[in-house]
């Protein structure tokens, strides 16, 4: 692993403390091909450099007789400093008595003045650094004990050094293990650690030939800084399988975010933030193992940041508007208005109308959807009450209940409070839960739903057909309505497969004795076909797009007049 951890280009850092400029220049000239050299004119300046520099020095070359702060005073200071006392010091002097006193103060070696040959000086420096590192505290802090990669601080320092010595382009790579916490939970921490170690070894094998430094900044993230490559196709291929084979954990998978040709004007942290953004963007996407950072990706990220920042204001200022789409019963001769679905829209004061497709998945991924859901529940409940009062007409409205809501222990009480505030019963606010939530945790979900149903709530399973539920599960889970995903309806008159699927869902609905709702119905032919299949309820542009509440009132008025 030494090649990986210490590429040849990486230089140790030496500080020369010497008041005479000519001597500094001679020393720096000797050392600079092999070391990163900094200079100070006196002890005080040297201390400042040592203390403000986050990067570690491997050696100090110290002149003894200097103005402001002498070498002896400086030695006393650093030996008393916990952070600095571990750095070896070579004293440069021509006076014998000084040698004795400085060795008592903790100097490690001497260079005489006038200087010995450059070879001798270099050999001494190398020997002392080696000696210190071999038994040293320095090295242990430099490496992540588990993987032997660098720790974050040292990694950054070495990236900085690559920047200053190596003009060739570099790439920043962030690698993550998908569902790593599951590995720890299911197979134990020891296995998890083995996986991390193994992966570090594999990365070494893949990148070991060129310049490459790596670190593990936290948990299951790996950072690599490597020579630029135009393409990483096939570079990571096989690594997931190899890791799975080795650990006997079949679903293990790694993904990589790559920021190519890094801009050296931006901070090292920013470079890896870019790569991490690309890496995290393909979390859960099993079709993609590598994602490259791009400006568009960054813009999208900034846009998301903005939406996240603005959500509270949007709620407070009522920029979020709840629209309603009617659902009609179609089994009678004339369609009958039966209920409505509440759908959120965002009218941003600066960005204009924002599509729900832009913000709902985002808020689902970070949990903010809960705020949005609560808002919709309150709005919808107030609207049902308003219509009841003004039109003497009860129209049940269904609202979305997201995955995070289901795990909220307050869920039931929250809903009951909202109903109570508006004088509504549990049959008036219907709850839609997406099918994939059922597939995720059927057992936990069943319990929550049973409680809600016992209270009188009606549960609709949303997006049915997209979530891979097993038929076995469908028959055992408590639901009141099955909603067929609109993608099947859209294609049902175009391809035979979709049509068959719709028929199948209708049969399932009949079998478990619940009504089916077809979403996304756009034309009469679809309506006719669905009616023949026995579909009870229909929602879609054929009747109306989702509309603001004021506009929706005409459906209520029509319904009342007929």
């Amino acid at each position: 692993m030494s090649e990986f951890a210490y590429p040849k280009k990486l230089k140790r850092r030496i500080l020369i403390v010497e008041d005479e400029e000519i001597n500094r220049e001679i020393l720096a000239n000797i050392l600079e091909d092999y070391y990163e050299v900094s200079c100070a004119e006196n002890g005080a300046q040297a201390l400042q450099l040592l203390r403000e520099h986050t990067a570690p020095y491997s050696l100090i070359l110290l002149d003894l007789l200097m103005p402001v702060m002498s070498g002896e005073e400086f030695l006393t200071e650093i030996k008393a400093d916990e952070q600095l006392s571990g750095i070896p010091v070579i004293v440069m002097t021509s006076e014998k008595p000084a040698e004795v006193s400085s060795i008592k103060m903790g100097a490690d070696d001497f260079i005489t003045k006038p200087y010995d040959s450059p070879e001798v000086i270099l050999a001494r420096c190398e020997r002392i650094i080696q000696l210190y590192e071999d038994n040293s505290i320095i090295r242990s802090a430099e490496k992540d004990e588990l993987t032997e990669l660098f720790t974050r601080e040292f990694f950054q320092e070495y990236v900085r050094q690559i920047d200053s010595y190596d003009e060739a382009a570099d790439d920043a790579i962030v690698i993550n293990i998908e569902h790593f916490h599951m590995i720890n939970e299911m197979f134990g921490r020891e296995t998890g650690d083995e996986v991390l170690k193994k992966l570090a070894g594999m990365l070494l094998r893949v990148f070991g030939n060129g310049t490459c430094i790596g670190c593990r900044p936290d948990a299951d993230y790996f950072y690599l800084y490597v020579d630029h490559r135009d393409s990483y196709d096939n570079v990571f291929a096989g690594l997931s399988e190899e890791l799975a084979g080795y650990s006997h954990i079949p679903k293990i998978r790694i993904r990589a975010g790559i920021y190519q040709n890094v801009d050296r004007h931006i901070s090292i942290e920013d470079r890896f933030d870019h790569a991490k953004l690309a890496c995290d963007r393909i979390r859960g996407d099993y079709t993609k193992q590598i994602n490259y950072y791009s400006k568009e990706l960054n813009d999208a990220d900034l846009y998301h940041e903005r939406l996240i920042n603005d959500i509270d204001d949007a709620i407070a200022n009522r920029d979020l508007i709840v629209f309603y789409q009617p659902k009609y019963g179609i089994q009678s001769e004339k369609p009958v208005l039966r209920s409505a679905e509440a759908l959120i829209r965002w009218k941003h004061p600066e960005l204009g109308m924002i599509s729900p497709g832009d913000f709902i998945p985002l808020f689902e991924s970070n949990g903010l959807i809960q705020k949005l859901d609560h808002y919709v529940w309150r709005e919808a409940a107030a609207r049902i009450r308003d219509w009841k009062e003004r039109f003497d007409y009860t129209l049940p409205v269904s609202v979305n209940v997201s995955r995070v809501d289901i795990y909220d222990p307050e869920l039931e009480q929250r809903l009951l409070d909202i109903l109570e505030e508006n004088g509504l019963s549990t049959s008036e606010l219907m709850l839609e839960i997406t099918e994939s939530a059922y597939a995720d945790d059927a057992k936990g979900l069943t319990e929550v739903i049973n409680n809600l149903r016992n209270r009188g709530f009606k549960i609709e399973m949303d997006d049915f057909g997209t979530g891979y539920s097993s038929l076995n599960m469908i028959t055992s889970i408590p639901i009141d309505v099955l909603k067929i995903d609109m993608s099947f309806i859209r294609n049902m008159n175009k391809d035979e497969k979709s049509r068959k699927l719709v028929e199948l869902v209708m049969d399932i609905a009949k079998f478990i004795k619940v009504p089916a709702v077809a979403e996304g119905v756009e034309d009469e032919s679809q309506l006719k076909a669905l009616k023949e299949m026995g579909c009870e309820l229909i929602q879609g542009y054929y009747f109306s797009r989702p509309v603001p509440p004021e506009e929706f009132e005409k459906f209520i008025i029509d319904e009342k007049e007929n």
Partner: protein, 112 residues
């Protein structure tokens, strides 16, 4: 311009100086020019005139290091002697030392 030949004629141990400079002639000559203009010469002169042995010692010590490393032997000799005398705060004819040093320095300066 100072040349290697001129320094040899001056009495410098050019070979030694060059070795310390990794045999980079330009670098060595540049440092010699810098040494000729080293403010420590002026500081030493002032300190001797003010009879401040401590200041004089510091200045002489600095010169000793730099001139020694560059192996400018004719200048090193009087400077080194001065350093030892001043270290022990001995009384001596320091202006005479200064004159020897200044003569050497001026010789070099004339080469520039």
């Amino acid at each position: 311009m100072i040349t290697i030949e001129a320094l040899k004629a001056f009495g410098a141990d050019v070979e030694q100086g060059l070795t310390r400079c990794m045999n980079k002639e330009d670098f060595y000559l540049k440092l010699v020019e810098k040494a000729v203009k080293d403010p420590a010469f002026e500081a030493l002169k002032n300190a001797v005139e003010a009879k401040d042995k401590e200041e004089a010692f510091e200045a002489a010590h600095r010169l000793k290091g730099a001139l020694g490393n560059l192996a400018l032997t004719p200048l090193c000799e009087p400077v080194n002697e001065m350093v030892e005398l001043l270290r022990n705060k001995e009384e001596a004819d320091y202006p005479a030392f200064l004159e020897r040093i200044e003569t050497g320095r001026k010789t070099l300066e004339a080469m520039i």
